[in-house]
């Protein structure tokens, strides 16, 4: 097994900075918000909301409090629905960034957290996806398996949950490991 994507986890990335949080109804709204805000030049990251603000498998976007008004305008213009802004990011948690791989000879498996993607090395065809337990995982399995890495949308653009987001991390990593496959 190869371990190549490990960083020290920050259990509460907002605890020591003047950060606030955008909360969303759905994980894919948070992913869309991250994309829109990064495109607009904001420094943001995806985190779990504090326990008292969670409804289930939630994902929120943390950014500097002073930037929240402008950022909210960007999200409105992008059509991203925000459930709530909170002026306190204490108690948030980072998404697991533990990425590992297993070489099966003709096939390469990459794990991100407990999500896995398996690719045939010679062709770049995705032969399996697995792990996780949210309903978009069987959907992503149907959408991705049997297709080449370079001809499918990114899992985070197709999926709706944290499981889909973790599968996207595995997808990005397996592309980086195979010749000519790195995601721009």
């Amino acid at each position: 097994m190869r371990l190549f994507g490990r960083k020290d986890a920050d259990p509460s990335p907002g605890a020591e900075e003047a950060l606030g949080l955008f909360l969303f109804e759905a994980v894919n709204d948070a992913i869309a918000a991250e994309r829109a805000l990064k495109t607009a030049g904001y420094g943001v990251h995806l985190v779990a909301p504090p326990p008292h603000l969670r409804a289930g498998c939630d994902l929120s976007v943390a950014l500097e409090r002073v930037e929240h008004v402008g950022a909210e305008r960007v999200l409105a213009e992008a059509g991203v629905h925000v459930r709530e802004w909170v002026n306190d990011a204490e108690g948030t948690a980072s998404v697991c960034d533990l990425v590992t791989s297993v070489d099966f000879g003709d096939w390469l498996m990459v794990r991100a957290g407990n999500m896995k993607i398996v690719v045939e090395k010679a062709t770049g065809v995705i032969v399996n996806t697995s792990g996780g337990g949210c309903p978009d995982i069987p959907y992503l399995n149907l959408a991705l398996v049997g297709k080449r890495l370079d001809e499918v949308p990114r899992p985070k653009d197709l999926g709706y949950t944290l499981c889909g987001l973790m599968l996207d991390r595995a997808y990005v990593e397996v592309r980086a490991l195979l010749p000519g496959g790195e995601v721009a």
Binding site: M1, L3, R6, A9, P11, A26, V27, N28, A48, P51, R54, A55, G56, C57, D58, A93, S94, V95, C96, L98, T100, V102, F104, W107, M109, R111, G113, N114, K116, V118, E120, V127, N128, T129, S130, G131, G132, G133, C134, P135, D136, I137, P138, Y139, N141, L142, V145, G159, Y160, T161, L162, C163, G164, L165, M166
Partner: protein, 295 residues
């Protein structure tokens, strides 16, 4: 002796389906007369459960499912129907599987089931397990079937999804299932029995390891999407057939591994290959493994 599986299937706006489950010759899963897509996930779980029921001559599984691709709509529809279906089907085992992990919905469901199906044993895997643990209800469950990363999630009282598990609790390095199972039980994150799926399968009873299954060793099974789901389907069906829970879990691990060996598993195979191999595996081994001898 009926197993009720509560889950979703991967179709946009797919309607609620409830009915008996059957397995077609090509491996397709039919629920109440409607075929659902074959994938990893609940179709793999149901396929394995059908094979157990067919082998043992027990009632075929019953499923309550709706289309959901991760937006939670189908999950909500399933929860709305759960009390009515459980009242009608009178299941002995209820297994929650691929569902959107919404704590409030799981809390309401468990309250309802305490009224309409008080004797049913509860099983959880996948999103059903995430919701049960996050909602603080894990100790109401008889069996949960985590993989190594999900065991870290069950052992961490502060997280609501495996994506947030701390590195030191994750299962790939220095994995200590004994400590994690005990911690999960002590912190209210565990069912009475855990079937921990991994290179070595561990079965924990009340937080202590009761069984370890590590033969045959087929590493390729981890790469095949849905092989954890087939284990859950096997264990749930054995439980519904009356096996003690630890025996149900042990026989599930053994059957899944033997199926992987018999089919010559490669990372490019699928859970449907495991399901197709099960009849022969059960016929040749189950009497020896679990004392359930079909005559």
């Amino acid at each position: 002796m009926t197993l009720l599986v509560v889950a979703t299937y991967p179709v946009v706006d797919g309607p609620v389906l409830d009915g008996q489950v059957s397995l077609e010759d090509d491996g397709g899963i039919v629920i109440g007369g409607t075929r659902v897509p074959s994938s990893q996930g609940t179709s793999a779980m149901l396929g394995a459960a059908v094979q157990v029921a067919t082998h043992l001559g027990t009632p075929v599984p019953y499923a309550l499912v709706a289309g959901d691709i991760g937006r939670g709509d189908g999950t909500r529809h399933v929860y709305e129907r759960l009390a009515e279906v459980a009242t009608r089907v009178r299941p002995s085992v209820i297994a929650f599987h691929y569902m959107q992990p919404v704590m409030a919905l799981m809390r309401r469901a468990i309250d309802q089931l305490a009224e309409v199906a008080p004797g049913a044993l509860l099983v959880a895997d996948a999103g059903g397990m995430y919701a049960a643990k996050a909602a603080g209800l894990a100790n109401r469950f008889e069996l949960m079937t985590p993989d190594v990363g999900e065991l870290g999630f069950l052992a961490d009282p502060d997280v609501t999804h495996p994506a947030y598990v701390s590195h030191y609790l994750f299962g790939n390095e220095g994995f200590d299932p004994i400590a994690l199972a005990a911690r999960a039980r002590a912190t209210g994150g565990s069912a009475r029995v855990l079937l921990i799926k991994g290179v070595r399968d561990h079965i924990a009873l009340d937080g202590a390891i009761a069984e370890v299954v590590d033969e045959p060793c087929v590493p390729e099974l981890e790469a095949i999407g849905g092989t954890g789901d087939t284990v859950t389907g096997l264990a749930s069906a054995f439980l519904a057939a009356g096996f003690p829970t630890v025996d149900a879990a042990r026989c599930a691990c053994l059957a899944n591994r033997e199926a992987g060996r018999a089919m010559g598993a490669t990372p490019a195979m699928h859970a449907s290959d495991v399901v197709a191999a099960l009849p022969g595996i059960l016929a040749d081994n189950l009497c020896r493994w679990g004392g359930a001898c079909v005559v």
